[in-house]
């Protein structure tokens, strides 16, 4: 590695006032032709390129990004990572990702700060209890570390939660996945970019796709703001903008793009050392290494690409936060922002071939795609390289919306996750 990162390289560079660090990745201009083009330079897209190069020995790859890498949902999400999903297919997919997270900093030689501080999901009514127990049992049998906690155990694990039985929706219990946690979102994009770049992947920023060129049932290339680029294989990982690319190729997808908002508080000294999510009271919170409370709000009910949501959603979220954590009432919101999430009817993603030869889609992650980044990239790379899905993403094909074999994760993840 040209720029191997370590404490020793930091010390060495300190002597030259850090004036000799090389580029983390190069800003490439498009070549005429690539073996594979990935549309979308977010975490998933960059990971796809990385694994295509690393595991499938495809070297002539471009990642084209409309803006700057990691600037979409990768850089806007609340970074929760967990794999305690209900259905076998989901559990397989997300746990594959979680296992990759566990070695990712070393794999990339880039500290993505994956912090396994645990994720707790709370139950507030009897059906919540049933659903969470159902999920915990399924997780356990699928080899995923998840335990059910009663109210006292919830309190013990996170003492600042208001577990009084007198609140409107008392905490009746919860689940805990200890291997779950958070990571540094930007680092994931930058780490994969650096790794991919080193294997020769071209990362082309400020390059907007304007058209997908087809020859009959096959793709031939893409029209971009930097000109036409030829390729036989296109992997689309454009999150909120997936339908926009699909429409260019003459496809319709089962997606709706909606605003999703998040916010952070001002930084304070450590006060909450885990991630707590609640579906019924609809709040989730963690604390970043910088000290900010990171709070995810829900989606609005209308389609929008404006990256703005309604204030009611933010108000509702903080309403829930104060119900569960009354001590945060005097904390202050520092920043709020919105992203665009593409949501499938069954709240599960699509990692799939399409009816057009050479066109692959990785989309529909809704509100929870960040956690899957390494797994999604790995499986999508496999699907593109072999023109066949890996067994872990076979269930996430587009055809499930025709046959009716949906992977309905609403029950387990009805709210933003």
């Amino acid at each position: 590695m040209i720029n191997k990162y370590s404490i020793f390289s930091l010390i060495k560079n300190a002597f030259s006032n850090h004036e000799n660090w090389g580029k983390a990745w190069k800003d490439a201009e498009p070549k005429k032709e690539y073996d594979v083009i990935i549309i979308g330079g977010g975490g998933h897209g960059l990971a796809t390129a990385y694994y295509l190069a690393k595991k499938h020995n495809i070297k002539n790859i471009a990642v084209v990004e409309k803006g700057w890498i990691g600037g979409g949902n990768t850089g806007r999400n609340t970074t929760i990572i967990r794999s305690n999903y209900l259905w076998d297919a989901s559990a397989g997919l997300y746990d594959h990702a979680l296992k990759l997270w566990e070695g990712l900093s070393q794999e990339l030689n880039y500290n993505v700060m994956f912090s396994q501080r645990g994720v707790m999901n709370l139950a507030h009514n009897l059906q919540d209890v049933r659903d969470l127990k159902r999920r915990t049992h399924a997780n356990r049998l699928n080899g995923i570390d998840a335990v059910y906690l009663n109210t006292e155990e919830v309190k013990k694990f996170c003492p600042i939660i208001n577990t009084s039985p007198k609140i409107r929706y008392p905490v009746l219990g919860g689940t805990l996945q200890k291997r779950a946690g958070t990571a540094r979102h930007d680092a994931v994009a930058w780490g994969y970019a650096r790794g991919a770049d080193e294997m020769g992947v071209d990362i082309i920023q400020n390059c907007e796709v304007k058209g997908v060129k087809r020859n009959g049932d096959s793709v031939e290339g893409i029209e971009t703001t930097k000109g036409f680029i030829k390729t036989n294989k296109i992997g689309v990982v454009a999150a909120g903008h997936s339908s926009v690319i699909a429409n260019m190729a003459g496809l319709k997808l089962p997606l709706e793009s909606k605003p999703l908002q998040a916010l952070v508080s001002e930084p304070v000294k450590p006060i909450i050392d885990t991630v707590v999510m609640s579906n019924a009271v609809h709040a989730y919170v963690s604390q970043s290494d910088k000290g900010e409370l990171v709070i995810g709000a829900g989606t609005d009910d209308y389609i929008s690409y404006s990256q703005k949501g309604s204030h009611d959603i933010v108000e509702g979220t903080l309403n829930a936060i104060l119900e569960l954590y009354p001590i945060f009432s005097r904390m202050r919101m520092l920043r709020q922002w919105g992203g665009i999430v593409d949501i499938c009817p069954d709240a599960s993603p699509i990692i799939s071939k399409t009816s057009i030869k050479g066109l692959y889609f990785n989309c529909g992650w809704g509100t929870g795609g960040f956690k899957a980044t390494p797994g999604s990239g790995d499986l999508f790379a496999h699907t593109i390289a072999n023109n066949e899905p890996h067994k872990l993403n076979a269930a996430f094909n587009i055809n499930r919306f025709v046959s009716g074999d949906l992977v309905d994760e609403h029950g387990a993840a009805a709210v933003a996750h």
Partner: protein, 91 residues
């Protein structure tokens, strides 16, 4: 948050309304005649347009009537409002 001009009640705050997704997707008159693909097209496949979209809204906390509106989804600007069954006032 938008201000929506309900064709029946006039201008109201968005919090009185619920969104109903893309408009003019007509439920097939003879669903049994359709292939699985055609049915899936009706059920799930959406244009999900970035730009001018025709969409359904319901004045849920007012007159409870459904109506259509035209909105630019790239900046949320509402261009027109029209009643169910009416032709869109703009293309």
């Amino acid at each position: 948050m938008f201000i929506i001009n309900c064709p029946f009640c006039g201008e109201r705050e968005q919090s009185e309304f619920k969104a109903g997704g893309e408009a003019h997707i007509i439920r097939p008159k003879q669903p049994t005649e359709l292939s699985d693909d055609q049915w899936a097209e009706y059920l799930f496949m959406r244009k999900n347009i970035k730009g001018i979209q025709f969409e359904r809204w319901n004045h849920a906390h007012g007159c409870r009537k459904w109506f259509n509106l035209v909105r630019d989804t790239s900046n949320d600007e509402i261009k027109a409002v029209y009643k169910m069954g009416e032709k869109p006032p703009i293309k």
